[in-house]
Symmetry: C2
């Protein structure tokens, strides 16, 4: 209607938010839609799940981040359908039932936990994608220690203090290391009967090694550093079933454990699948995008971040990490600004990904990192990880405050974050590990 172009951005993660911020001084109106009211600093989500940080330390309302940007409106709503031909976004709740019309659409809906067709596993092995996920995992882990404290049967206590993490990528490594640390250092003196240091943490990976995206020697160092913390790693191990009392492997072996965390698979947001047959997708449901991050045939619609499959120079998709999303967001904002400024249609540039390296933290003072051929592990890698993560906290409270909080946590193993909230506190409900209920399959702990 107006002369000003309308840019609709779906998703306030690293990609969408970076794009929105990069459009701050452009002559466009921006609408940013997200199902959550907050941007989440996902690389630290495992810290909330492991009671090291509080939700408010790694999440901040999207409105607050863009409050000074006058050309952005934020909508807390769920996108239901997108019509690429008529350029309309249908969302809910939409008070006037009117869709949003767009001149440019930037889809950055991110990824979801994916159970490879076994959605029933979610009940027993939650994934780690949102604040609610993290609070739920925190609840389960802390409740397992509480139940162990009440338990008088040593075998049952062992089962309560057994934790299985499925998936040997960075998230799985971080979660496994953090459970072991929580048990050994943070909870150790809190309990009288249960001995948190007896907790057994098992990391299961289907492939031949952990951290497949890293150099093999770093994967080996990771296994060693995990072992120092007491985490046992099993590679080449496929899961056959997950139930309330543990995990059955494809070998038939059963791992008795009341707490299981799923870090094995992600898939693109269902929004991409909903775009219909005109859009080509890869196996994970990501949209295959052109060199300018647009959808082939729809030059005004871009897909960025974890929902996009962008083939790099080596013919493999770019990794689903925050630097990819942020670089794509800035790149797409650049194209939009360029086209809004000059009506003349020119050839669009191609997106070039700058690989800044990868890092995974294993625990306090333990990590692995590689960047431009340099490989680090141990304390040095951990310090690098710490610096990068503090530096990249977008619009958070304040870098100084975060640093202060972390320093404080580091020296005190802070306790405030160790709250159990939400859900049912006491067993009985399925989500609360009804350890007194009978189970239809005999389980034998064979992990040791």
């Amino acid at each position: 209607m107006s002369e000003r172009k309308h840019v609709v951005i779906v998703g306030g993660g690293f990609g969408g938010l970076t794009c929105a911020r990069a459009l701050a001084r452009a002559d466009v109106d921006v609408t940013l839609i997200d199902r959550q009211n907050h941007h989440l600093f996902q690389p630290l989500l495992y810290q909330v799940a492991m009671a090291g940080l509080s939700p408010s330390e790694i999440a901040v309302p999207i409105r607050s981040i863009v409050r000074k940007q006058k050309n952005i409106g934020v909508l807390l709503a769920e996108v239901e359908r997108i019509d690429l031909e008529t350029r309309q976004v249908y969302y809910s709740p939409a008070p006037g039932d009117a869709p949003l019309s767009f001149d440019y659409l930037v889809l950055a809906p991110g990824a979801r936990t994916h159970y490879f067709g076994h959605d029933d596993w979610e009940l027993y092995a939650p994934g780690l994608k949102s604040i609610d996920d993290a609070v739920e995992i925190r609840r389960r882990v802390l409740l397992a220690f509480e139940a162990a404290e009440r338990e008088i049967d040593p075998a049952k206590r062992a089962q309560l203090l057994s934790f299985v993490v499925i998936g040997g990528g960075p998230t799985g490594v971080e979660v496994a290391g953090a459970i072991a640390e929580l048990a050994r250092f943070a909870l150790d003196r809190d309990f009288r009967v249960a001995k948190p240091y007896e907790a057994r943490v098992l990391l299961i990976e289907a492939g031949p090694r952990v951290l497949p995206a890293f150099a093999p020697e770093l994967a080996e160092k990771t296994v060693l550093q995990l072992a120092e913390l007491g985490v046992h790693v099993r590679t080449g191990t496929m899961v056959d079933a997950i139930g309330p009392r543990g995990v059955r492997l494809q070998t038939g072996e059963t791992l008795l454990a009341d707490t299981v965390v799923w870090a094995a698979g992600v898939a693109s947001s269902p929004l991409i699948r909903g775009l219909g047959g005109a859009v080509e997708m890869d196996r994970q449901g990501r949209a295959i995008v052109a060199k300018d991050c647009s959808l082939p045939g729809f030059p005004n619609t871009f897909v960025i971040g974890d929902a996009a499959c962008f083939l790099g120079p080596d013919g493999r998709p770019l990794p689903g990490v925050s630097p990819t999303a942020m670089q794509m967001g800035r790149f797409v904002a650049g194209i939009i600004k360029q086209e809004v400024r000059s009506a003349a249609v020119s050839e669009r540039p191609e997106f070039v990904y700058t690989d800044k390296g990868s890092m995974a933290t294993i625990g306090r003072s333990r990590a692995v990192a590689e960047t431009k051929g340099i490989k680090l592990s141990g304390l040095l890698a951990w310090l690098a990880w710490l610096l990068v993560h503090i530096w990249y906290l977008i619009g958070f409270r304040n870098r100084f405050v975060v640093f202060f909080d972390w320093a404080w946590s580091y020296f005190t193993y802070r306790r405030g974050a160790r709250l159990i909230t939400g859900g049912r506190l006491l067993p009985g409900a399925p989500e609360a590990h009804a350890y007194t209920s009978s189970h239809d399959q005999a389980h034998h702990h064979a992990a040791q």
Copy 2:
């Protein structure tokens, strides 16, 4: 069994925790049972509900508080039944199905939100007693602003931005003042369509004035200070019904408001009622205790805090505030220590309550306080409130850190705590204010 006496304490609030800590060096074994894993600094709970503080800033795991006290075991469990005659506490889950035997029992189960027989109101007007309550109220208040931002009908927007707080005690005053402040100062620049400063906050009190426990002139000053923030106070106003779209008064008048908070009534924990006919109760279900805080006829069972009705020298029950609970906790611990030390049965002392005064905060730099005849209001009262509350944070992270956090919040109107988590984010579910659903009663906003 052993020579050492066993003290069972039910409840880890101010009363139970103070009692447990006071028994630190006594020659007894203490078991502290609570349904939550955390002690809650309840006077600041409204700050969590109003997104000023995060849950982890006002709650800390009970285990962490008593970790250095070797004679205390903590159980996360729910007490189901107490047999005063055989001195057994039955709790759940109890893995061996064995109850706890006690030599001394200290009941400090606190109070619950009470709807005067209208339990169906809870769905539309949650109370404020736990972290989960506070997070739920925070979710509703923030979602109301979000829905107003999406809304295009001005009348519906007005309804979304109308907030009714029922109950003019300290909690109601604090909540009403905090909603007004949140709207006027914290959210003001975050929204484009909704104008948070247009939010209408109404505080309803059935009695003739707010803060009935305070001097009349302070109640008047409170109304003035609330008015400065834009809160409208209506006294002598009885509620007839509460529904998804607001409150109907006994006059027939209807107040259209999507968000209602209940701060009008509390009753004692049902545990007291469960003690059976041998225990006398007052109208609120509190146990009427003897001068030594024990149950008449059961000298080894004490009831303290909000669950106890202790008649003061003026013949009126002591107020249900944290100083009462803490003083009772220390007093009862003293009796137990005394009796464990010397086998000789001596006359027990009588509990004497020391009234340290009352205070209620209305907003930043606004409060009322009275102590020993001195009445304060405004900034001075607020500074007094701040000092007392920081000082009394039991075993919290660290007084310095809390002070630092608060100072920070004060100057920045911090945003991190403004997260919406848990529950359903979008309308449709009953708890999320289905503002598009029809309502069987015509409601007209008549509050202005």
